[in-house]
Symmetry: C2
Subunit: 235 residues, 2 copies
Protein backbone atom coordinates (compact mmCIF):
# COMPACT_ATOMS: atom_id res chain seq x y z
CA UNK A 1 0.00 0.00 0.00
CA UNK A 2 1.38 3.33 -1.11
CA UNK A 3 0.76 6.06 1.36
CA UNK A 4 -0.13 9.51 0.13
CA UNK A 5 0.46 11.56 3.22
CA UNK A 6 -1.53 14.18 4.97
CA UNK A 7 -0.09 17.30 3.37
CA UNK A 8 -2.66 17.09 0.63
CA UNK A 9 -5.40 19.74 0.85
CA UNK A 10 -6.47 20.21 -2.75
CA UNK A 11 -7.34 17.31 -5.04
CA UNK A 12 -7.74 17.74 -8.79
CA UNK A 13 -9.68 15.33 -10.97
CA UNK A 14 -9.42 15.06 -14.70
CA UNK A 15 -12.86 14.51 -16.27
CA UNK A 16 -12.85 12.67 -19.63
CA UNK A 17 -12.19 8.95 -19.04
CA UNK A 18 -11.40 9.62 -15.38
CA UNK A 19 -14.90 10.56 -14.18
CA UNK A 20 -16.94 9.65 -17.24
CA UNK A 21 -16.60 7.74 -20.52
CA UNK A 22 -15.36 9.91 -23.39
CA UNK A 23 -12.78 8.39 -25.72
CA UNK A 24 -14.94 5.38 -26.74
CA UNK A 25 -17.48 7.85 -28.20
CA UNK A 26 -14.71 9.32 -30.36
CA UNK A 27 -13.57 5.85 -31.46
CA UNK A 28 -17.14 4.86 -32.31
CA UNK A 29 -17.48 8.03 -34.41
CA UNK A 30 -14.20 7.21 -36.12
CA UNK A 31 -15.47 3.73 -37.00
CA UNK A 32 -18.62 5.11 -38.55
CA UNK A 33 -16.48 7.63 -40.43
CA UNK A 34 -14.20 4.84 -41.70
CA UNK A 35 -17.24 3.00 -42.97
CA UNK A 36 -18.40 6.03 -44.99
CA UNK A 37 -14.87 6.44 -46.34
CA UNK A 38 -14.46 2.75 -47.23
CA UNK A 39 -15.90 3.58 -50.67
CA UNK A 40 -12.69 5.50 -51.31
CA UNK A 41 -9.94 3.82 -49.31
CA UNK A 42 -9.67 0.71 -47.13
CA UNK A 43 -11.34 1.42 -43.76
CA UNK A 44 -8.25 0.35 -41.80
CA UNK A 45 -6.20 3.14 -43.39
CA UNK A 46 -8.61 5.89 -42.34
CA UNK A 47 -7.61 6.25 -38.66
CA UNK A 48 -3.97 7.05 -39.26
CA UNK A 49 -4.85 9.61 -41.96
CA UNK A 50 -7.41 11.22 -39.68
CA UNK A 51 -4.83 11.38 -36.89
CA UNK A 52 -2.43 13.11 -39.29
CA UNK A 53 -5.03 15.82 -40.03
CA UNK A 54 -5.88 16.16 -36.33
CA UNK A 55 -2.20 16.59 -35.42
CA UNK A 56 -1.68 19.17 -38.16
CA UNK A 57 -4.79 21.09 -36.97
CA UNK A 58 -4.01 20.77 -33.23
CA UNK A 59 -2.33 24.14 -32.77
CA UNK A 60 -5.03 26.02 -34.67
CA UNK A 61 -8.16 24.14 -33.60
CA UNK A 62 -7.23 22.66 -30.22
CA UNK A 63 -9.13 19.84 -28.50
CA UNK A 64 -12.78 18.88 -28.53
CA UNK A 65 -15.60 17.69 -30.72
CA UNK A 66 -15.85 20.79 -32.95
CA UNK A 67 -12.17 20.58 -33.85
CA UNK A 68 -12.64 16.84 -34.44
CA UNK A 69 -15.62 17.49 -36.75
CA UNK A 70 -13.64 19.96 -38.86
CA UNK A 71 -10.76 17.46 -39.10
CA UNK A 72 -13.18 14.70 -40.15
CA UNK A 73 -14.50 16.81 -43.04
CA UNK A 74 -11.03 17.90 -44.11
CA UNK A 75 -9.74 14.31 -44.04
CA UNK A 76 -12.77 13.05 -45.98
CA UNK A 77 -12.18 15.49 -48.83
CA UNK A 78 -8.45 14.82 -48.93
CA UNK A 79 -8.54 11.04 -48.89
CA UNK A 80 -11.41 10.80 -51.38
CA UNK A 81 -9.40 12.97 -53.78
CA UNK A 82 -12.25 15.48 -53.84
CA UNK A 83 -14.66 12.71 -54.87
CA UNK A 84 -16.74 12.68 -51.69
CA UNK A 85 -20.30 13.92 -52.17
CA UNK A 86 -22.16 16.65 -50.29
CA UNK A 87 -24.57 14.06 -48.97
CA UNK A 88 -21.67 12.14 -47.44
CA UNK A 89 -20.19 15.28 -45.94
CA UNK A 90 -23.52 16.05 -44.26
CA UNK A 91 -23.49 12.53 -42.82
CA UNK A 92 -19.99 13.17 -41.44
CA UNK A 93 -20.99 16.58 -40.07
CA UNK A 94 -23.92 14.94 -38.30
CA UNK A 95 -21.61 12.30 -36.80
CA UNK A 96 -19.69 15.24 -35.31
CA UNK A 97 -22.85 16.85 -33.96
CA UNK A 98 -23.91 13.59 -32.36
CA UNK A 99 -20.50 13.35 -30.71
CA UNK A 100 -20.86 16.89 -29.33
CA UNK A 101 -24.12 15.84 -27.72
CA UNK A 102 -22.78 12.50 -26.42
CA UNK A 103 -24.55 10.81 -23.51
CA UNK A 104 -22.60 10.86 -20.25
CA UNK A 105 -21.92 7.63 -18.40
CA UNK A 106 -20.17 8.04 -15.06
CA UNK A 107 -17.41 5.51 -14.41
CA UNK A 108 -17.89 2.97 -11.61
CA UNK A 109 -17.07 4.19 -8.12
CA UNK A 110 -16.70 7.85 -9.06
CA UNK A 111 -19.62 9.15 -7.00
CA UNK A 112 -18.50 7.15 -3.94
CA UNK A 113 -15.03 8.64 -4.16
CA UNK A 114 -16.20 12.21 -4.74
CA UNK A 115 -18.80 12.19 -2.00
CA UNK A 116 -16.32 10.73 0.48
CA UNK A 117 -13.49 13.12 -0.33
CA UNK A 118 -15.51 16.32 -0.77
CA UNK A 119 -15.76 17.01 2.97
CA UNK A 120 -12.13 16.22 3.69
CA UNK A 121 -10.39 18.03 0.82
CA UNK A 122 -11.02 20.89 -1.53
CA UNK A 123 -11.96 19.24 -4.82
CA UNK A 124 -11.35 20.73 -8.24
CA UNK A 125 -12.16 19.42 -11.69
CA UNK A 126 -9.45 20.31 -14.21
CA UNK A 127 -10.36 19.38 -17.74
CA UNK A 128 -8.88 20.17 -21.11
CA UNK A 129 -10.96 20.83 -24.19
CA UNK A 130 -13.67 22.92 -25.68
CA UNK A 131 -15.38 25.19 -23.14
CA UNK A 132 -18.96 24.48 -24.17
CA UNK A 133 -18.31 20.72 -24.69
CA UNK A 134 -16.89 20.32 -21.21
CA UNK A 135 -19.55 22.49 -19.54
CA UNK A 136 -22.25 20.46 -21.25
CA UNK A 137 -20.72 17.14 -20.19
CA UNK A 138 -20.33 18.37 -16.61
CA UNK A 139 -23.94 19.55 -16.50
CA UNK A 140 -25.16 16.21 -17.87
CA UNK A 141 -22.98 14.26 -15.43
CA UNK A 142 -24.62 15.74 -12.34
CA UNK A 143 -21.18 15.78 -10.66
CA UNK A 144 -20.81 19.55 -10.37
CA UNK A 145 -22.04 19.55 -6.77
CA UNK A 146 -18.96 17.69 -5.58
CA UNK A 147 -16.47 20.30 -6.77
CA UNK A 148 -15.40 23.53 -5.12
CA UNK A 149 -13.90 24.74 -8.38
CA UNK A 150 -14.10 23.91 -12.06
CA UNK A 151 -11.28 24.76 -14.45
CA UNK A 152 -11.68 24.21 -18.18
CA UNK A 153 -8.35 24.85 -19.86
CA UNK A 154 -7.01 24.71 -23.41
CA UNK A 155 -3.90 22.78 -22.38
CA UNK A 156 -2.52 21.05 -19.29
CA UNK A 157 1.12 21.81 -18.65
CA UNK A 158 3.28 22.84 -15.68
CA UNK A 159 2.19 26.46 -15.93
CA UNK A 160 -1.49 25.57 -16.11
CA UNK A 161 -1.24 23.69 -12.83
CA UNK A 162 1.00 26.24 -11.09
CA UNK A 163 -1.38 29.04 -11.97
CA UNK A 164 -4.45 27.20 -10.72
CA UNK A 165 -2.85 26.09 -7.43
CA UNK A 166 -1.50 29.56 -6.83
CA UNK A 167 -4.79 31.27 -7.67
CA UNK A 168 -6.61 29.09 -5.14
CA UNK A 169 -4.03 29.86 -2.45
CA UNK A 170 -2.40 26.44 -2.08
CA UNK A 171 1.20 25.25 -2.23
CA UNK A 172 2.33 22.70 -4.85
CA UNK A 173 3.00 20.08 -2.17
CA UNK A 174 -0.61 20.43 -0.99
CA UNK A 175 -1.98 19.45 -4.40
CA UNK A 176 -2.66 16.03 -5.89
CA UNK A 177 -3.97 15.41 -9.42
CA UNK A 178 -5.79 12.28 -10.54
CA UNK A 179 -6.25 11.32 -14.17
CA UNK A 180 -5.94 8.87 -17.02
CA UNK A 181 -3.28 10.73 -19.01
CA UNK A 182 0.35 10.48 -17.91
CA UNK A 183 1.17 13.30 -20.30
CA UNK A 184 -1.50 15.77 -19.16
CA UNK A 185 -2.53 14.75 -15.65
CA UNK A 186 0.46 13.12 -13.98
CA UNK A 187 3.91 14.11 -15.28
CA UNK A 188 3.42 17.93 -15.31
CA UNK A 189 2.18 18.00 -11.69
CA UNK A 190 5.12 15.89 -10.49
CA UNK A 191 7.44 18.38 -12.17
CA UNK A 192 6.10 21.22 -10.03
CA UNK A 193 6.33 19.24 -6.78
CA UNK A 194 2.73 18.08 -6.52
CA UNK A 195 1.49 14.50 -6.46
CA UNK A 196 0.07 12.71 -9.49
CA UNK A 197 -2.05 9.59 -9.48
CA UNK A 198 -2.37 7.61 -12.69
CA UNK A 199 -5.56 5.65 -13.40
CA UNK A 200 -5.23 4.35 -16.97
CA UNK A 201 -8.35 3.85 -19.02
CA UNK A 202 -8.57 1.10 -21.61
CA UNK A 203 -8.85 3.53 -24.51
CA UNK A 204 -6.43 6.43 -24.82
CA UNK A 205 -6.26 8.88 -27.68
CA UNK A 206 -3.00 8.50 -29.61
CA UNK A 207 -2.16 12.16 -28.96
CA UNK A 208 -2.05 11.52 -25.19
CA UNK A 209 -0.05 8.31 -25.26
CA UNK A 210 3.34 8.21 -23.58
CA UNK A 211 5.28 4.96 -23.45
CA UNK A 212 5.49 4.24 -19.74
CA UNK A 213 8.57 2.07 -20.28
CA UNK A 214 10.52 5.23 -21.09
CA UNK A 215 9.86 6.66 -17.64
CA UNK A 216 12.71 5.27 -15.58
CA UNK A 217 11.70 6.56 -12.19
CA UNK A 218 8.00 6.18 -11.63
CA UNK A 219 7.07 8.74 -9.00
CA UNK A 220 3.36 8.13 -9.15
CA UNK A 221 0.96 5.48 -7.95
CA UNK A 222 -0.82 3.63 -10.75
CA UNK A 223 -4.31 2.45 -9.84
CA UNK A 224 -6.66 0.00 -11.49
CA UNK A 225 -9.75 1.91 -10.55
CA UNK A 226 -10.72 5.20 -8.92
CA UNK A 227 -11.97 3.37 -5.82
CA UNK A 228 -8.37 2.25 -5.18
CA UNK A 229 -7.86 5.83 -3.98
CA UNK A 230 -9.37 4.64 -0.70
CA UNK A 231 -6.32 2.37 -0.29
CA UNK A 232 -3.59 4.94 -0.82
CA UNK A 233 -4.99 7.46 1.63
CA UNK A 234 -5.09 7.15 5.36
CA UNK A 235 -8.79 7.88 5.44
Amino acid sequence: MININNNIKLIGFDADDTLWINEPHYRETEQKFSLIMSKYIPAEQVSSLLFKTESKNMELLGYGAKAFTISLIETAIQISNNKITSAEIIKILNLGKKLIDMPIKILDGVENVLSFFQNKYELIMITKGDLLDQERKLAKSGLKKYFHHIEIVSNKNKNTYSNIINKLGFLPQEFMMIGNSLKSDVLPVIEIGSKGVYIPYHTTWEHEIINEDNITEKKYPKLNSITDLFNIFIV
Copy 2:
Protein backbone atom coordinates in the same frame (compact mmCIF):
# COMPACT_ATOMS: atom_id res chain seq x y z
CA MET B 1 -20.93 64.68 -17.83
CA ILE B 2 -22.17 61.52 -16.22
CA ASN B 3 -20.38 60.72 -13.02
CA ILE B 4 -19.53 57.14 -12.19
CA ASN B 5 -18.71 57.45 -8.55
CA ASN B 6 -16.00 56.07 -6.40
CA ASN B 7 -17.59 52.83 -5.26
CA ILE B 8 -16.16 51.06 -8.28
CA LYS B 9 -13.24 48.75 -7.49
CA LEU B 10 -13.43 46.12 -10.21
CA ILE B 11 -13.75 47.00 -13.90
CA GLY B 12 -14.61 44.39 -16.52
CA PHE B 13 -13.84 44.80 -20.19
CA ASP B 14 -15.41 42.84 -22.99
CA ALA B 15 -12.81 41.96 -25.64
CA ASP B 16 -14.20 41.44 -29.18
CA ASP B 17 -15.04 44.84 -30.71
CA THR B 18 -14.44 46.55 -27.38
CA LEU B 19 -10.66 46.10 -27.14
CA TRP B 20 -9.91 44.79 -30.64
CA ILE B 21 -11.58 44.42 -34.03
CA ASN B 22 -13.47 41.13 -34.42
CA GLU B 23 -16.85 41.28 -36.13
CA PRO B 24 -15.54 42.83 -39.38
CA HIS B 25 -13.39 39.69 -39.87
CA TYR B 26 -16.55 37.58 -39.64
CA ARG B 27 -18.39 39.82 -42.09
CA GLU B 28 -15.47 39.70 -44.53
CA THR B 29 -15.50 35.89 -44.31
CA GLU B 30 -19.25 35.92 -44.91
CA GLN B 31 -18.77 38.04 -48.04
CA LYS B 32 -16.20 35.64 -49.45
CA PHE B 33 -18.55 32.77 -48.59
CA SER B 34 -21.43 34.52 -50.39
CA LEU B 35 -19.25 34.88 -53.46
CA ILE B 36 -18.51 31.14 -53.53
CA MET B 37 -22.22 30.42 -53.06
CA SER B 38 -23.33 32.90 -55.75
CA LYS B 39 -23.07 30.04 -58.28
CA TYR B 40 -26.06 28.50 -56.51
CA ILE B 41 -28.13 31.34 -55.08
CA PRO B 42 -27.98 35.14 -55.23
CA ALA B 43 -25.20 36.35 -52.93
CA GLU B 44 -27.54 38.74 -51.07
CA GLN B 45 -29.66 35.82 -49.87
CA VAL B 46 -26.74 33.97 -48.30
CA SER B 47 -26.36 35.97 -45.06
CA SER B 48 -29.86 35.40 -43.79
CA LEU B 49 -29.68 31.66 -44.55
CA LEU B 50 -26.32 31.41 -42.81
CA PHE B 51 -27.74 33.23 -39.79
CA LYS B 52 -30.59 30.73 -39.70
CA THR B 53 -28.13 27.83 -39.54
CA GLU B 54 -26.02 29.63 -36.91
CA SER B 55 -29.09 30.26 -34.75
CA LYS B 56 -30.20 26.64 -35.04
CA ASN B 57 -26.68 25.45 -34.10
CA MET B 58 -26.16 27.99 -31.30
CA GLU B 59 -27.17 25.77 -28.40
CA LEU B 60 -25.09 22.83 -29.60
CA LEU B 61 -22.02 24.60 -31.00
CA GLY B 62 -21.90 27.90 -29.09
CA TYR B 63 -19.88 30.93 -30.14
CA GLY B 64 -16.60 31.25 -31.98
CA ALA B 65 -14.86 30.57 -35.26
CA LYS B 66 -15.02 26.75 -35.14
CA ALA B 67 -18.80 26.82 -34.66
CA PHE B 68 -19.00 29.40 -37.47
CA THR B 69 -16.93 27.18 -39.79
CA ILE B 70 -19.21 24.19 -39.19
CA SER B 71 -22.27 26.38 -39.85
CA LEU B 72 -20.70 27.69 -43.09
CA ILE B 73 -20.21 24.14 -44.40
CA GLU B 74 -23.69 23.05 -43.35
CA THR B 75 -25.29 26.11 -44.97
CA ALA B 76 -23.29 25.61 -48.17
CA ILE B 77 -24.52 22.05 -48.61
CA GLN B 78 -28.11 22.97 -47.81
CA ILE B 79 -28.45 25.99 -50.04
CA SER B 80 -26.66 24.37 -52.97
CA ASN B 81 -29.10 21.45 -52.75
CA ASN B 82 -26.17 19.09 -52.30
CA LYS B 83 -24.61 20.40 -55.51
CA ILE B 84 -21.58 22.06 -53.92
CA THR B 85 -18.28 20.39 -54.77
CA SER B 86 -15.58 19.09 -52.42
CA ALA B 87 -13.18 21.66 -53.83
CA GLU B 88 -15.60 24.44 -52.85
CA ILE B 89 -16.08 22.98 -49.38
CA ILE B 90 -12.32 22.96 -48.84
CA LYS B 91 -12.27 26.65 -49.86
CA ILE B 92 -14.97 27.35 -47.27
CA LEU B 93 -13.17 25.32 -44.60
CA ASN B 94 -10.03 27.33 -45.28
CA LEU B 95 -11.98 30.60 -44.95
CA GLY B 96 -12.91 29.35 -41.47
CA LYS B 97 -9.31 28.49 -40.62
CA LYS B 98 -8.15 31.92 -41.75
CA LEU B 99 -10.80 33.47 -39.50
CA ILE B 100 -9.57 31.42 -36.53
CA ASP B 101 -6.11 32.83 -37.09
CA MET B 102 -7.31 36.40 -37.66
CA PRO B 103 -4.85 39.26 -37.14
CA ILE B 104 -5.54 41.37 -34.06
CA LYS B 105 -5.92 45.12 -34.37
CA ILE B 106 -6.34 46.97 -31.09
CA LEU B 107 -8.99 49.71 -31.16
CA ASP B 108 -7.89 53.33 -30.77
CA GLY B 109 -7.29 54.52 -27.23
CA VAL B 110 -7.54 51.07 -25.63
CA GLU B 111 -3.95 50.91 -24.36
CA ASN B 112 -4.18 54.45 -22.93
CA VAL B 113 -7.30 53.53 -21.02
CA LEU B 114 -6.00 50.20 -19.74
CA SER B 115 -2.63 51.52 -18.64
CA PHE B 116 -4.25 54.46 -16.85
CA PHE B 117 -6.89 52.38 -15.05
CA GLN B 118 -4.79 49.35 -14.18
CA ASN B 119 -3.18 50.96 -11.13
CA LYS B 120 -6.42 52.45 -9.81
CA TYR B 121 -8.79 49.52 -10.25
CA GLU B 122 -8.68 45.76 -10.50
CA LEU B 123 -9.14 45.04 -14.19
CA ILE B 124 -10.72 41.90 -15.59
CA MET B 125 -11.32 40.82 -19.17
CA ILE B 126 -14.60 38.93 -19.54
CA THR B 127 -15.07 37.49 -22.98
CA LYS B 128 -17.53 35.04 -24.48
CA GLY B 129 -16.59 32.44 -27.03
CA ASP B 130 -14.30 29.59 -27.83
CA LEU B 131 -11.57 29.07 -25.22
CA LEU B 132 -8.68 28.62 -27.63
CA ASP B 133 -9.90 31.40 -30.00
CA GLN B 134 -10.08 33.92 -27.21
CA GLU B 135 -6.77 32.87 -25.62
CA ARG B 136 -5.07 33.17 -29.00
CA LYS B 137 -6.54 36.62 -29.66
CA LEU B 138 -5.53 37.79 -26.18
CA ALA B 139 -1.97 36.50 -26.65
CA LYS B 140 -1.69 38.21 -30.05
CA SER B 141 -3.12 41.46 -28.66
CA GLY B 142 -0.36 41.90 -26.09
CA LEU B 143 -2.98 43.26 -23.67
CA LYS B 144 -2.79 40.47 -21.09
CA LYS B 145 -0.40 42.44 -18.89
CA TYR B 146 -3.07 45.01 -18.06
CA PHE B 147 -5.48 42.51 -16.53
CA HIS B 148 -5.54 41.02 -13.04
CA HIS B 149 -7.92 38.29 -14.20
CA ILE B 150 -9.10 36.78 -17.45
CA GLU B 151 -12.45 35.03 -17.72
CA ILE B 152 -13.43 33.22 -20.90
CA VAL B 153 -17.04 32.11 -20.61
CA SER B 154 -19.51 30.29 -22.81
CA ASN B 155 -22.29 32.80 -22.13
CA LYS B 156 -22.72 36.16 -20.42
CA ASN B 157 -25.79 36.36 -18.25
CA LYS B 158 -26.68 37.55 -14.73
CA ASN B 159 -25.31 34.38 -13.15
CA THR B 160 -22.04 34.55 -15.07
CA TYR B 161 -21.37 38.02 -13.71
CA SER B 162 -22.56 37.27 -10.16
CA ASN B 163 -20.31 34.23 -9.96
CA ILE B 164 -17.25 36.09 -11.20
CA ILE B 165 -17.73 39.10 -8.90
CA ASN B 166 -18.36 36.83 -5.94
CA LYS B 167 -15.40 34.59 -6.70
CA LEU B 168 -13.09 37.59 -6.76
CA GLY B 169 -14.48 38.88 -3.44
CA PHE B 170 -16.26 42.02 -4.64
CA LEU B 171 -19.79 43.31 -4.21
CA PRO B 172 -22.05 43.93 -7.23
CA GLN B 173 -22.05 47.70 -6.59
CA GLU B 174 -18.25 47.69 -6.77
CA PHE B 175 -18.26 46.29 -10.32
CA MET B 176 -18.55 48.06 -13.65
CA MET B 177 -18.62 46.31 -17.04
CA ILE B 178 -17.68 47.94 -20.33
CA GLY B 179 -18.60 46.52 -23.71
CA ASN B 180 -20.18 46.84 -27.13
CA SER B 181 -23.12 44.49 -26.57
CA LEU B 182 -26.15 45.77 -24.67
CA LYS B 183 -27.41 42.20 -24.45
CA SER B 184 -24.23 40.59 -23.10
CA ASP B 185 -22.19 43.34 -21.48
CA VAL B 186 -24.59 45.98 -20.19
CA LEU B 187 -28.13 44.83 -19.37
CA PRO B 188 -27.23 41.71 -17.30
CA VAL B 189 -24.81 43.63 -15.04
CA ILE B 190 -27.39 46.38 -14.41
CA GLU B 191 -29.85 43.68 -13.37
CA ILE B 192 -27.52 42.52 -10.59
CA GLY B 193 -26.85 46.03 -9.29
CA SER B 194 -23.54 46.69 -11.03
CA LYS B 195 -22.79 49.43 -13.54
CA GLY B 196 -22.71 48.91 -17.28
CA VAL B 197 -21.11 51.18 -19.86
CA TYR B 198 -22.15 50.81 -23.48
CA ILE B 199 -19.66 51.57 -26.26
CA PRO B 200 -21.36 50.55 -29.50
CA TYR B 201 -19.21 49.38 -32.39
CA HIS B 202 -20.22 50.04 -35.97
CA THR B 203 -20.66 46.35 -36.76
CA THR B 204 -22.69 44.13 -34.44
CA TRP B 205 -23.54 40.50 -35.04
CA GLU B 206 -27.30 40.05 -35.54
CA HIS B 207 -27.42 37.62 -32.60
CA GLU B 208 -26.29 40.35 -30.20
CA ILE B 209 -28.57 43.11 -31.45
CA ILE B 210 -31.16 44.59 -29.11
CA ASN B 211 -33.29 47.49 -30.26
CA GLU B 212 -32.30 50.28 -27.91
CA ASP B 213 -35.60 52.07 -28.52
CA ASN B 214 -37.32 49.30 -26.57
CA ILE B 215 -35.35 50.11 -23.43
CA THR B 216 -37.46 52.78 -21.77
CA GLU B 217 -35.20 53.63 -18.87
CA LYS B 218 -31.59 53.82 -19.96
CA LYS B 219 -29.53 53.22 -16.85
CA TYR B 220 -26.20 53.16 -18.61
CA PRO B 221 -23.86 55.70 -20.13
CA LYS B 222 -23.38 55.32 -23.88
CA LEU B 223 -19.97 56.40 -25.10
CA ASN B 224 -18.64 57.11 -28.57
CA SER B 225 -15.22 55.76 -27.82
CA ILE B 226 -13.37 53.99 -25.03
CA THR B 227 -11.34 57.13 -24.27
CA ASP B 228 -14.60 58.83 -23.23
CA LEU B 229 -14.24 56.73 -20.06
CA PHE B 230 -11.83 59.46 -18.90
CA ASN B 231 -14.79 61.85 -18.89
CA ILE B 232 -17.22 59.81 -16.82
CA PHE B 233 -14.78 59.09 -14.02
CA ILE B 234 -13.43 61.54 -11.51
CA VAL B 235 -9.88 60.56 -12.28
